[in-house]
């Protein structure tokens, strides 16, 4: 089937351009851009001048299968992703049990078929994510693992990690690390400082992230492995990252949308929906990290979608679980960075679609003829009030509940097929 999307503001992250024009989808691919008239027999969709961009490629989404399907299933995650303009999800392996064998990977791959968007998987770097023995990296690659990660658990034994990295290097596998010094961050619920002290909550110094990053970068220099730091959230981590890139290490870095749009003060009166891992940072850090995304030092923006049920959040702050759902709020929250002038739309989609796809070797993320027609149509200016109970995610733990958002997804296409359309009431 051929689709003709006319009168769209086409965002091209590769060319760094925004142009008003038409786009043809044929056989699941982008067939033409800028064609003045619809090809014969094409279904015409009028975009009314709204933005059309490559669908978001979200690296590091938690889905509760296996083990915690009450929090999120592949079906519900797929619906949430479609509603949020996320066309490719790269799921995390921190499930119960962890995805650490080809068999569990085959199970989730089969289960993922019920989702309406593309789903890929990361596998654990060590068995049971326990940091003792490496997983069958080669078998897992054959079974489709895109990257290897122990989630937010740090492999504390540097010997184990260096061997896993060396082995991964020989296979060209990408290792996703969580830079955090486990000693300093033990038991922490917030970032240390005046605010943490006034609330009486145990805090972690931002230096814990830098120390973790420095250690990982040292091992990357030693082993030559391909490495991605999942979340860089502090100003003082940035020079270390810059140096590593300058020295030619195969290193990229990411950050979650929450760390770009919220800060530690949002925790306010012990609001556990704002409890994240790593914790929200000071405003200075937030600003520095936004600038690092704009300059390209931080490559990838992700949602760090982490569904938690009500019971694990309705607890005193220290005891409450960390993490927030974000698939559906990712794009509206990112629009805050656009409206504040911090990032242009092409720059945002470079970090949300093009860079993650490139890093993982996927053909998505491009607005070019011959690229898969994974697209999101959105209105960057549409205002709405977020009600968490309207989310499609099974878990409703969003920090944006009750907040004014600007920017709405109107339609989502995966391989040329429309998987979401906003109901206009």
């Amino acid at each position: 089937m051929t689709l003709f999307l006319q009168n769209a503001r086409i965002i091209d992250p590769e060319q760094d351009t925004e142009t008003l024009g038409n786009l043809v989808i044929d056989a699941g691919m982008i067939a033409a851009i800028g064609l003045p008239n619809a090809p014969k027999g094409a279904q015409i969709i009028d975009c009314e001048g709204k933005c059309l961009a490559p669908g978001i490629v979200d690296l590091g989404v938690k889905i509760g299968e296996p083990g915690e399907r009450h929090r999120e299933s592949f079906r519900s995650a797929g619906q949430a992703a479609a509603a949020g303009g996320v066309t490719t999800v790269i799921a995390r392996p921190d499930t119960l049990p962890a995805i650490d064998t080809p068999e569990t990977l085959e199970f989730v791959t089969r289960r993922a078929a019920e989702a309406s968007v593309r789903i890929h998987h990361m596998a654990a770097l060590t068995k049971g994510r326990e940091g003792r023995e490496m997983t069958e990296i080669s078998f897992l690659l054959d079974a489709g693992a895109l990257a290897f990660s122990d989630g937010d658990r740090v492999v504390t034994d540097t010997k184990v990690l260096s061997r896993a990295l060396t082995y991964a290097r020989s296979l060209g596998a990408l290792v996703v690390g969580h830079p955090q010094d486990p000693g300093l961050s033990k038991g922490a619920a917030v970032t240390s400082g005046k605010f943490a002290s006034l609330l009486g909550l145990p805090g972690v110094h931002p230096m814990a992230e830098r120390i973790g990053l420095d250690r990982d970068l040292g091992l990357i220099e030693m082993t030559g492995a391909r490495y991605h730091a999942d979340q860089i959230t502090c100003a003082r981590s940035l020079p270390a990252l810059e140096r590593a890139k300058k020295n030619g290490l195969d290193v990229t870095a990411g950050v979650s949308i929450h760390h770009l749009t919220l800060n530690e003060l949002d925790v306010g009166d012990y609001r556990s929906f704002f409890k994240l891992s790593p914790p929200l940072r000071a405003e200075d850090d937030r600003v520095a990290v936004v600038e690092a995304v704009a300059s390209g030092l931080i490559d990838i923006l992700c949602s760090m979608h982490t569904p938690q049920d009500e019971e694990s959040k309705r607890l005193p702050y220290e005891e409450a679980a960390a993490g927030a759902v974000a698939l559906e709020t990712f794009l509206p929250a990112a629009m805050r960075l656009y409206h504040s002038g911090a990032l242009s739309l092409p720059a945002l989609f470079r970090a949300m679609a093009l860079n993650p796809a490139k890093r993982l070797g996927l053909p998505q993320g491009r607005m070019a003829v011959g690229a898969p027609a994974d697209l999101v149509l959105f209105d960057p200016d549409a205002p709405f009030l977020l009600d968490r109970w309207t989310l499609k995610s099974k878990s409703k733990n969003t920090p944006f509940d009750g907040q004014r958002m600007e920017g709405r997804v109107l339609a989502t296409f995966v391989g040329g097929r429309q998987v979401f359309a906003l109901n206009k009431e």
Binding site: G193, S197, G200, R314, L315, P316, E318
Partner: protein
């Protein structure tokens, strides 16, 4: 008399005139408590439940006595006998108790913010009797009353708070209260027991105790928890006592009429010299205990007044 709060969760929420109202009323309850017949009917017919998720003999006794002297029906629920041990969550416990229509809930919990969470789920007045490292408002109020009665004022004094400030809710509440009442505050502690971001608190910070006590009107000592003494935060008990234990020599750096306070229970020979703690010319530690009952009576009385007014307004609304 100004006191608008529905719950007493922390000093942070109180305005200076509200603090003054509590202290003024507490002064009157001090007089009552010194009589043979110590009862009023301010809380007659009301039910007070003391929920202590952390053990505390002293504070619980003080709240129980305060409630009984005001004529309330007081029930103590200690965690050892409760269903919390059976895995019930804090909120379920609170909702269960709430269904029994208490009027005042006095709560102590080991987690910072737990009392705020609980207060958001119940429809009675909640009093924070200490939550984690966050706040212990009645302690700060009783300390303020003790200071005001000893010094004749609670402004423009130099107060040194010494000891384990990082882990102390007493220090937090006192810091906030004394700041609101415009006092000069000094924090004295080894750097490992200083909270992070202390430089932004608007206090003077000392790791030398003698320098910190120089010219102080009030010396407030804090209890050092046993579990902090094992080399984790300080090298040893004896080294701590040598550098930060209050004795006559260190106290001589403060003003000659400086008073010595301690929230109790004391570790004699760790943070304070035993003889000094008993010196009736310097130590007001026993007065603090006495003021504790009066201050808690005042707080509960004021909260009960607001509760009645609120319910009265609601009832009137229903009628109209």
């Amino acid at each position: 008399m100004t006191f608008r709060a529905r719950h007493l969760l922390g000093i942070q929420q109180l305005a200076p005139e509200e603090i003054r109202s509590v202290l003024d009323l507490a002064d009157r309850y001090v007089d009552l408590n010194r009589r043979t017949v110590k009862r009023t009917d301010a809380l007659a017919g009301m039910t007070q439940i003391n929920m202590f998720f952390e053990n505390s003999t002293r504070t619980q006794a003080s709240f129980e006595l305060a409630g009984k002297r005001l004529g309330a029906d007081v029930m103590n629920m200690s965690v050892a006998q409760s269903s919390v041990k059976k895995g019930e969550t804090l909120i379920d416990t609170a909702m269960t108790l709430n269904a029994m229509h208490p009027d005042l809930l006095v709560v102590r919990h080991g987690a910072s913010g737990a009392v705020n969470l609980l207060a958001s789920k119940v429809n009675c007045a909640v009093l924070n009797a200490g939550d984690g490292r966050h706040e212990h408002p009645t302690q700060a109020l009783l300390d303020a009353l003790t200071i005001r009665r000893a010094k004749g004022r609670i402004q423009r004094l130099t107060v040194a708070i010494c000891g384990d400030i990082a882990h102390s809710r007493v220090a937090r509440s006192n810091l906030i209260l004394l700041g609101k009442m415009e006092n000069r505050i000094r924090l004295v502690a080894p750097p490992t027991l200083m909270p992070s971001g202390v430089g932004e608190f608007g206090c003077e910070v000392f790791d030398d105790m003698r320098a910190g006590l120089e010219g102080a009107d009030v010396v407030m000592m804090l209890r050092l928890q046993k579990e902090r003494m094992d080399g984790g935060f300080i090298p040893s008990e004896r080294e701590y006592y040598h550098r930060y234990g209050l004795d006559a020599e260190k106290l001589s750096h403060a003003k000659p009429d400086a008073i010595v306070m301690h929230p109790g229970p004391m570790n004699r020979g760790v943070e304070i010299d035993g003889e000094l703690a008993d010196d009736i010319n310097r130590s007001v530690i026993q007065e603090q205990v006495e003021m504790g009952v009066a201050v808690r009576m005042a707080c509960m009385d004021l909260l009960a007044r607001n509760l009645r007014a609120e319910r009265g307004a609601k009832a009137a609304g229903v009628m109209a």
